[in-house]
């Protein structure tokens, strides 16, 4: 029992932080491989709450493959890790996230229309889907949509909310028209401050604040922000916002309003609960863009994503035959500066090697990476991957804890055993 490699493994595990929380020994390694649905300890990260782990299961919504069910109503479903082994996330496996249970279904494209107006618009307009497609130039962008609270379940201490593992995200090619072109048609007055978006979904009871979000007008008018009808060459799935949703590349999913029903150009900051109270970060904790018209003394809205990566090819406890390489593969992404490099360590962070980057799908998309590390000796290894963006932003070793559980980008520590 107290053989050399065993002691070494123990030592490595102690250094492996979250991964070290796994029980030791080969029996434990076997258990780790048979990990419950959506567990995160086997990814070399902190574990989601025990109640989450016990409650969640694989379940297929209509039109979707089985996803990790977090909650039935409103529906919150996470994409299993296996679907991130390619840079583009299939529509049928794309995560589902709603705040409120009043989701009209089915929504018929022929009945749908988009209202455009507001106190800083020259005129009120209404567009059918056919008009939007006919009257405006098509635009497309490959972009990661990631929930602000992706990995919330990994926060220690835990925070209340939807206890997401790593799969409240996906990357797709979005196609539609530019929001700025549509706003220009309605006319944007000087003094416009924010653009306020509302979707057709709403609360279960009238007293609950409707989910309404706003963007700074300069962000809304940027070339990359789209009203999308298509995802990966297909109409948007119902659960991802059919028939049209907002695409805000680089910014977290909260701004990507689904079933988009109205956009209003406004001269005053939007004050509803979802802007003024929810989706806020303590000021100064993260180096992300500032939403100037929404700053409060203590906090500010979450805006762009932080740099992150996910190793998809290995599980903690996995055994690798001596002489075979450790294959480290995954995806990396950031807010749109682009991924400069992904470095991989197989010695608990003592040394790092640059991984090979895959095809560049555009600065907002997933970037695949891979590294093959030869093995010659048996023993335990701790595998880590660290993405760095072209602006020099890099992933963190220690969680930057915040009360709502946003921006988790802690480096994985995956324990594998060469045997």
């Amino acid at each position: 029992m107290s053989s050399g490699p065993d002691r070494t493994r123990r030592k490595l595990l102690q250094g492996a932080g979250a991964a070290g929380a796994l029980a030791m020994g080969t029996a434990a390694a076997g258990r780790a491989l048979a990990a419950p649905v959506g567990d995160t300890a086997s990814l070399g990260l902190a574990q989601i709450p025990e109640g989450t782990l016990a409650e969640q299961m694989l379940y297929a919504l209509p039109g979707k493959v089985p996803l990790i069910k977090k909650t039935f109503r409103p529906p919150n479903f996470e994409t299993p890790v296996e679907y991130f082994r390619t840079a583009i996330t299939p529509n049928k496996a794309f995560f589902v996230r709603y705040h409120l249970a009043g989701i009209p279904q089915p929504i018929r494209a022929a009945d749908w229309s988009l209202s455009v107006g507001g106190d800083s618009a020259e005129r009120e307009m209404k567009f059918s889907l056919a008009q939007l497609k006919k009257d405006f130039k098509a635009a497309e962008v490959m972009a990661v949509c990631q929930c602000s609270g992706n990995r919330r379940g990994l926060f220690e201490p835990h925070v209340a909310g939807v206890e997401w593992g790593v799969g409240a995200m996906g990357n797709a090619l979005w196609r539609g028209v530019r929001l700025k072109d549509v706003l220009a048609k309605a006319g944007v007055k000087p003094g416009a401050l924010e653009v306020v978006m509302d979707g057709a979904d709403g609360p279960a009871i009238p007293k609950t604040p409707d989910f309404v979000k706003s963007l700074p007008v300069e962000m809304a008018m940027s070339d990359d922000v789209l009203i999308a009808f298509e995802m990966n060459g297909q109409p948007l799935p119902h659960w991802n916002g059919f028939p049209a949703r907002l695409i805000v590349p680089g910014w977290t999913g909260t701004y990507w309003v689904k079933h988009l029903a109205s956009v209003r150009v406004m001269s005053q900051p939007e004050k509803n609960f979802w802007m003024s109270t929810a989706y806020r970060l303590p000021r100064g904790k993260f180096d992300t863009p500032t939403f100037k018209s929404q700053l409060y003394s203590a906090n500010e809205p979450i805006t762009a994503m932080v740099v992150n990566s996910l190793v998809t090819s290995l599980r903690s406890g996995q055994q690798i035959a001596r002489g075979k390489p450790i294959e480290v593969r995954g995806v990396a992404w950031d807010r749109g500066n682009g991924i400069a490099k992904v470095e991989v360590s197989t010695d608990t962070g003592s040394s790092w090697k640059p991984a090979k980057l895959g095809k560049d799908h555009g600065r907002y998309g997933f970037r695949e990476f891979s590294l093959s590390e030869p093995t010659s000796e048996s023993g335990a290894r701790v595998v880590m991957a660290r993405a760095t963006s072209k602006s020099g932003e890099t992933q963190v070793n220690e969680l930057i804890w915040n009360p709502a559980g946003y921006h988790h980008n802690v480096i994985q520590k995956i324990y594998v055993e060469v045997v």
């Binding site: 709450p49 025990e50 109640g51 989450t52 016990a54 409650e55 969640q56 379940y59 919504l61 209509p62 069910k69 977090k70 909650t71 039935f72 109503r73 409103p74 529906p75 249970a101 009043g102 989701i103 009209p104 279904q105 201490p157 835990h158 209340a160 909310g161 939807v162 206890e163 057709a200 979904d201 709403g202 609360p203 279960a204 009871i205 009238p206 007293k207 609950t208 604040p209 409707d210 029903a261 609960f273 109270t277």
Partner: protein
């Protein structure tokens, strides 16, 4: 639009849409206070409760219930808050 949405969501609940059929299998632990805690189902499935366990103490659960009332307008009587929070802390609280 709010009225329309309300009607739609009620219809959704009443029609027991097939996507939600599985929801009825989520059952809260049988213990004193469960009846009062069932009111949560008016706005969301009950899996929200076990999902958020076990890491909140009674103060944490009380804050959650109060948020549901004060922010989301949950139809919970003020005098029931303590019983619901006690049930949640007892059965889904920090050990």
């Amino acid at each position: 639009m709010r009225t329309l949405r309300f009607t739609l969501s009620l219809a959704l609940l009443l029609s027991a849409a097939p996507t939600m059929a599985q929801e009825s299998k989520v059952v809260l632990k049988d213990a004193p206070g469960r009846d009062k805690a069932q009111v949560c189902v008016a706005c969301h499935s009950l899996d929200y409760i076990p999902m958020n366990s076990r890491f909140m103490d009674k103060a944490g659960w009380t804050a959650s219930v109060n948020k549901m009332i004060n922010v989301f307008g949950a139809p919970i009587a003020k005098e029931d808050v303590d019983a619901i929070a006690s049930y949640l802390a007892q059965n889904y609280g920090k050990k």
